[in-house]
């Protein structure tokens, strides 16, 4: 069990509904394209150009289910341990809004395609299982645009396929909610059903947040925070919302069931509509679509085709490459990163590197400098100029002590900008380490001469001072000296 997140004697309880856009070429109920190359949103092409009579809901037009969507939804279900309903049905969810051209959204209500799954998340106190209540298929809406006093509707996104993945109310802290989202994100991108561009809204969630007195088993009244599309914002929104609810209760108020929006610039949630204004969606089976009837053999075939999942991969990387579980967890948080790591290692080992130590330095660089750069630019590794071949070369140079770990960061930053070869950059920027004793000796002698005090202490047994000497020599050589060589020289000169 993880440590509960307590706000002034209240526990917070979170359930998440994740909307994940499926990376199919065409829309869920018509032949219109649903995505562009590289997973960019179809909403971005000329307004209303990716539409047809079906997705603009012309009178008389009918939906026909895209089989790929069913396949992808089954993949999501299997990867999260769900039961697949061999018979599942589509329902109409009725509400009026201009971005919903039919006046109803085709979704699933009774009998969704997947039910009763789970996924494991890593918490500070170890693993925790979070139940998934259901996964259902539905269509995305268009987008409304308000400009110069006019309201415009763009239906390019209308009919883009989604799965909605609904968790139980089982997360007890903002961090757990974040961990669940990251784990789920890793799964859907691993199995290739979602492009995972959160900026584009490929993966977004609604958070149901409530608080209850510590130790209580009765859930409090919940508020639903709509459409948050970043891991960090979800955590912050929950944090704010929990504090707001606790404050409300402590001042004698009551939490009302309502829909709220998270304002990321102010870091607050604001009320959108309360339950009294809530819609009656009048769900009923869509008579235009027949029930989806699946063969067990079809499901089994999909199960066999599933790739290695993040959890399996994490365990394998840790044991195969001897990297620590935390590093393995970070590497496997996104499929592209894990693939990048494995490709790098493959090439480095082929080039003669020792596997475990190469893995360690690759993992350090990927989880450190590279992740930092990716976050800074909000891109996937695949879109950067840095390739596994670059990394393999670099890792080998680090292992052979030609480039220091500080130098390695500089190399990465340079490749990031230009995509040039590692050798060319090392050469041009003078990043080769000096390991040659004769060229380092003058600097070492200079440092020893200038620091009689520390020299005496070191000789008297204060071993830790070795770091000080290495630092001084590095300074003297402009950071190019091989720290291992310096250590050896210092020891040789100062110790008997």
């Amino acid at each position: 069990m993880s440590t509960p997140y307590i706000v002034d004697g209240y526990e917070v309880v979170v359930g998440l509904e994740v909307h994940c856009q499926l990376a199919t070429d065409s829309k869920i109920f018509c032949g219109c394209r649903a995505r562009l190359e590289g997973g960019k949103s179809v909403a971005d092409v000329e307004s209303n150009s990716a539409t047809c009579p079906v997705c603009t809901a012309q009178p008389g037009a009918l939906p026909v289910l895209n089989k790929k969507v069913v396949e992808y939804a089954i993949k999501a279900g299997l990867a999260t341990g769900c039961k697949i309903n061999l018979k599942n049905i589509f329902a109409r969810k009725n509400y009026f809004y201009p971005d919903s051209p039919k006046g109803y959204q085709i979704s699933q209500f009774e009998l969704p395609i997947c039910e009763n799954g789970f996924l494991n998340i890593e918490t500070a106190n170890g693993q925790k299982k979070i139940n998934i209540q259901r996964i259902h298929m539905e269509e995305d809406a268009g987008k409304n645009l308000h400009r110069d006093g006019y309201s415009l509707v763009n239906l390019n996104r209308a009919g883009v396929p989604l799965v909605e993945i609904v968790s139980g109310p089982e997360m007890k802290s903002p961090e757990e909610a974040g961990a669940y989202l990251r784990a789920l994100y890793a799964i859907v991108t691993y199995i290739g059903i979602c492009d995972g561009n959160m900026q584009e809204g490929n993966f977004r969630c609604d958070a149901n947040v409530s608080v209850m007195p510590k130790g209580s088993t009765k859930l409090g009244t919940r508020a639903e925070i709509k459409n948050v599309n970043s891991f960090r914002f979800v955590e912050k929104a929950i944090e704010f919302e929990a504090a707001r609810q606790v404050e409300l209760l402590q001042s004698g108020g009551k939490v009302v069931q309502e829909t709220r929006l998270y304002d990321s610039t102010k870091n607050i949630t604001v009320s959108m509509r309360s339950k009294e204004e809530a819609q009656d969606y009048r769900y009923f089976p869509d008579p235009d679509l027949v029930p989806v009837l699946l063969e067990q053999a079809f499901v089994d075939k999909i199960r066999e085709s599933l790739p290695e999942l993040p959890e399996q991969k994490r365990i394998r990387l840790a044991s195969e490459f001897g990297i620590n579980p935390q590093d393995a967890g970070l590497l496997t948080s996104s499929k592209s990163l894990a693939d990048f790591f494995e490709k790098t290692l493959g090439l480095a080992v082929k080039g003669g590197a020792e596997k475990k130590s190469a893995a360690k330095s690759a993992a350090n660089l990927i989880n450190g400098e590279i992740t930092r750069l990716l976050n800074e630019e909000s891109i996937e590794i695949g879109r950067s100029k840095l390739t596994p071949a670059h990394m393999a070369d670099l890792v080998q140079l680090v292992q052979a002590s030609v480039v220091s770990s500080t130098g390695a960061k500089q190399v990465i930053a340079a490749v990031w900008k230009t995509g040039e070869s590692v050798d060319a950059i090392v050469e041009r920027e003078g990043l080769k380490q000096v390991s040659d004793v004769s060229s380092l000796e003058p600097a070492v002698d200079k440092v020893i001469a200038a620091n009689p005090g520390p020299v005496a202490e070191f000789r008297a047994g204060k071993d830790k001072l070795i770091g000080f000497f290495v630092g001084q020599v590095m300074k003297e050589t402009g950071g190019k000296a091989n720290p291992g060589t310096i250590q050896e020289l210092i020891k040789k000169k100062l110790l008997p």
């Binding site: 009579p53 603009t56 809901a57 012309q58 009178p59 008389g60 037009a61 009918l62 939906p63 026909v64 289910l65 109409r92 009725n94 009026f96 809004y97 201009p98 051209p101 039919k102 006046g103 109803y104 509707v153 009656d280 009048r282 009923f284 008579p287 235009d288 679509l289 027949v290």
Partner: protein
């Protein structure tokens, strides 16, 4: 004398084309003239340009081939009318609603496409009850259709324009749609043949939906023979309609030529179809028709469809529930008429109120009923319950068809009534659908064939229903009745 009234069937028209005594273009011109001067209000839009272009092309083809290319174009040069709830690319399609008064669809319904590809010529779009909701055609936003046989009487509905157009020979055949009797009832009132195919036999793609689980498009013709020819072209699986059936279609026209063995035919006569409310003249005519079958050697079997009295209640929940959400797309955002002031509305709610005020009173009534029947707290008692009873009605037919080949009875309790006579009482109007609704609820094919006239000389229709996807047999029985009884 008008040319267009001289030919009674596709067979006769093709023969005239072959012998060069008739040309498609003069034929179509003659039709267009007759349509404009009929005074029946049967057509809402005349697609003159399209018709003339298609006729010209037919002329050229005929000149090239010498003879009608029957194999490739089984309906070559045959003038057709299309109910105005079927969309046609570039031709105004209104569903007889103010809401769509200016709507030009960007695509064509599958059935229309198939018929045009088979050579049919589109003369225009026929009048109907708004969104096909009604049984008299009086609910059209553009006025009632007059019955060609008695101009002060209704043509029936909702496919009233199509029925009147066929009866008055303002087309060779017409398309109707039938949700609770909308093909069979006007066919009966106008003395023509009207077939509602099995649910799933004909594509609904491009049919403006009323009750999606009940709607079917079907032919309305002067003869059973033509109905078979038209069904041959329009039926069959359509990948654009998920509810269209992959079960292979029959060979309808050719199977008419096979002889019927009357002596092996068992006809079910449901007692519920001859109960209170049936007008004596209609009962007499239907019973005489049944006797004719008996005289040919067929066996009349008394049967019961015990749940059929619930049909109207079930239908007016299921159909309106589906309709209430089918009609949500008419929001004035992407197409349709925006009434004055709508664009200046302060908020969405006001905008929707202004736009949707365009629906006529019967459509509003059904939207409200359907919205209620589906709403939280009521849908179990209404919508779900109705679906359960619908299943029982279906099972009644399954039971009956274990014993009989076909079920026969009246199409409607009475003949065509006077325009305005019943329009103040919707419930009385709903009761008129009592005999036609069960086939829609059960998804069965049903046909109305003229079987006589009442004392006022108004047409009476005999209804025949058979198991799902047995249209070939149904048409053969109807064809035998039509041909042999007329000559007897």
């Amino acid at each position: 004398m008008a040319i267009h009234t001289q030919y009674k069937s596709v067979t006769e028209i093709h023969d005239a084309y072959d012998r060069k005594i008739l040309s498609p273009i003069e034929f179509v011109r003659d039709y267009l003239n007759a349509m404009k001067s009929s005074g029946l209000n049967a057509y809402l839009t005349i697609s003159e340009e399209r018709a003339l272009a298609q006729a010209k092309q037919a002329d050229m083809m005929l000149a090239q081939h010498g003879k009608v290319p029957r194999d490739k174009k089984p309906l070559f040069g045959i003038p057709m009318a299309v109910k105005d709830n079927l969309v046609m690319d570039g031709v105004r399609t209104t569903a007889a609603s103010k809401m769509l008064e200016n709507y030009i669809p960007p695509y064509t319904a599958t059935v229309v496409e198939r018929l045009e590809n088979a050579g049919a010529i589109s003369l225009g779009k026929t009048n109907l009850d708004e969104f096909a909701m009604g049984g008299s055609n009086e609910n059209s936003a553009f006025g009632a259709v007059k019955n060609p046989d008695a101009l002060d009487r209704v043509a029936g509905g909702s496919s009233g324009g199509s029925a009147a157009a066929v009866r008055a020979q303002l087309c060779q055949f017409a398309l109707g749609s039938d949700t609770g009797g909308s093909i069979r009832l006007p066919a009966s009132y106008c003395g023509i043949v009207g077939l509602k195919p099995s649910y799933g036999r004909v594509s609904r793609y491009g049919l403006i939906a009323f009750g999606s689980s009940l709607d079917q498009v079907g032919p309305m013709t002067q003869s059973v023979e033509d109905a078979a020819r038209v069904l041959d072209v329009m039926s069959g699986f359509d990948e654009r309609d998920a509810t269209s059936s992959p079960t292979p279609k029959g060979d309808y026209f050719n199977s008419l030529q096979k002889d019927l063995e009357w002596s092996s035919l068992k006809i079910g006569v449901p007692k519920e179809y001859f109960a209170e409310g049936l007008v004596p003249d209609v009962e007499k005519s239907v019973r005489e028709s049944l006797k004719w079958f008996e005289s040919k050697g067929a066996k009349l079997v008394p049967i019961s469809l015990p749940h059929s009295p619930y049909s109207i209640a079930v239908y007016y929940i299921v159909a309106v529930s589906e309709a209430s959400t089918n009609l949500e797309r008419f929001d004035g955002v992407r197409f349709g008429v925006r009434p004055q002031g709508a664009s200046e509305a302060r908020d969405l709610e006001e905008f929707y109120k202004k736009v949707r005020a365009n629906f006529g009173p019967e459509v509003k009534r059904r939207i409200i009923l359907g919205t209620f029947a589906l709403s939280a707290g009521y849908s179990d008692a209404y919508y779900k319950r109705a679906c359960q009873v619908r299943n029982l009605i279906k099972m009644d037919f399954d039971e009956a068809f274990k014993k009989v080949d076909v079920i026969m009875g009246p199409v409607a309790p009475s003949t065509a009534y006077k325009i305005g006579e019943k329009s103040s009482n919707p419930l009385e109007m709903y009761l008129n659908d009592l005999y036609t609704i069960p086939a829609n609820l059960a998804g069965l094919p049903g046909i109305s064939v003229p079987c006589g006239k009442d004392s006022k000389g108004l047409s009476i229709g005999l209804q025949m229903m058979s198991p799902i996807f047995t249209e070939a047999k149904l048409l053969r029985i109807a064809h035998g009745f039509e041909k042999e009884r007329a000559s007897s």
